[in-house]
């Protein structure tokens, strides 16, 4: 019977916790250490400090969590062991993507605790969590989608996200984009909206969320339609 392999979620959580989770914990500890050594009076606004630090760290952490999500299994041939079982590849990887999201979002409470070293109070506004979740959905979804197609998923995703951000900054500065750059900017998902310290409108957030859902759906569609193997032994 085709089903979400819920029983395997614990193993996924364990793998994620030991890999990306350990990196997240190390970064939060490092932030806490650095903040505890800063000279001067403690900062008053814990929320603002959290937002600024989270905004800097979130994008690379999304890449750490999602890199090779599908492509590693295909490249190493592990998929042959997973999918000789009664397991659907789209559901298997959707579960992995969701577990990755949980691990990624754990960064925020850890960071809030680290920031409290400096501010004296733990602050984690709900909107920060929401924006981080949107960042994971859109940027992580992009890596997930690319991972179904190519091996260097995170590198290409970084290139796409940075390109969009640069084009956005150019447009915001009032300079005119050429016709090609303008077309590229229109087509690319609005990654700039997911910056945690940005102030987008509700409509922009909705569009970004719709893009994120569409990209994850596209990844699942590829996993449904595209054969996992590429050669006799691959």
């Amino acid at each position: 019977m085709t089903r979400l392999p819920i029983g395997y979620a614990g193993w996924e959580l364990r793998d994620m916790a030991r890999g990306p989770g350990a990196i997240i914990l190390a970064i939060a500890a490092l932030v806490g250490f650095i903040l505890s050594r800063l000279p001067g009076a403690p900062a008053a606004d814990a929320g603002a400090m959290l937002t600024r630090i989270a905004d800097q760290a979130a994008f690379p952490l999304v890449l750490v969590v999602t890199a090779g999500m599908v492509s590693r299994d295909i490249g190493e041939g592990y998929y042959r062991a997973w999918f000789s079982r009664p397991v659907s590849p789209p559901l298997f990887y959707l579960q992995r993507f969701l577990v990755g999201g949980v691990i990624f979002l754990l960064f925020l409470p850890l960071l809030a605790i680290a920031v409290s070293v400096r501010t004296g109070n733990v602050s984690l506004p709900a909107w920060v969590v929401g924006r981080a979740a949107l960042l994971y959905l859109l940027t992580g979804g992009t890596v997930f989608f690319l991972s179904t197609l190519v091996r260097r998923d995170w590198m290409i995703a970084a290139l796409v996200v940075i390109t969009e951000s640069v084009l956005h900054q150019v447009q915001r500065s009032g300079a005119a984009l050429g016709p090609v750059a303008s077309a590229v900017y229109e087509v690319l998902p609005p990654y700039h909206v997911t910056a945690i310290d940005a102030a987008p409108s509700g409509r922009e957030l909705a569009v970004a969320a719709a893009y994120g859902v569409a990209i994850v759906a596209a990844a699942l569609a590829v996993l449904r339609r595209k054969p996992l193997g590429s050669g006799g032994r691959a």
Partner: protein, 302 residues
Amino acid sequence: MIELAGVSKTYRSLVRRRTVHALEDLTLAIPAGEVFGIAGPNGAGKSTLISLLMGFLVPTRGTVRIGGEHPRGWVERHGASYLTELVALPPRWPLEQALARLGTLAGHDPAARRERIERAIDVLGLEEHRSKQVRQLSKGNLQRLGLAQALLDDSDLVILDEPTHGLDPVYTQRFRDIVRELRRPERTIVIASHNLDELERLTDRVAILSRGRLQRVVGGTDGARAGSVAYRLTIAGAGPIDTAYGSPVDGRPGEWRLVGEVGALNAELARLIATGVVVTAFYPEESRLELEFRQAMEEGTR
């Protein structure tokens, strides 16, 4: 159970613009209850065929059906007991944990999973390796782990790609026993191997592939060999053997090579025995499958 109709698989390299015809116009039916072998030299298309059966690849032309369904759909609903040619599991996973994870993926409840893991570890003699990481296993033990994970499931489709590759003689023999125990009327077992002797012992029929084409299917009920075939004759002592046989094979006393049609050779044996020669062995120089394989390869290269 398994039906392939006009199946071709072509790999195309976009960069080098190279085309490889891995399989061409393959039509085959394998009923439930059969142990079916696939033989062929390297590059014959065996692994491609297995990937098609597992639904990891789709044919360029033709159709593959398992139980009337697309292979991927069938495997996703029922699961298959599958051993890959190169066992690939994350290197840091301990052996027992690898089995537990795969059992979890298969949807076994914890009690059944534990029982199946213990049985697989016992049957394949992996007890002393259960806490070792995959990367610490020798080639033979890795192959045994591959077999163990395939045996965890109780599927009606068993696909084993080079199952005795790297196994020592003890576990090669045990593998044969395992396959005999796996036989069931509702189960189809497919074994791809370079080892013709193994295929001849274990399978009901063997498909011989060469350069992506099905050269022939050799069945267990095929008639006696036709034409002149070489046999080895060994006799006890230095009996009064006919000088017409020439010199002993490789200078070994008492071992001779006889070539002829089966009926004539029988008559010759009877004559020898009547003269007091004690025959200790009389066997074909190559098995029927080896003979068919050699002939198929010769035809394939013409």
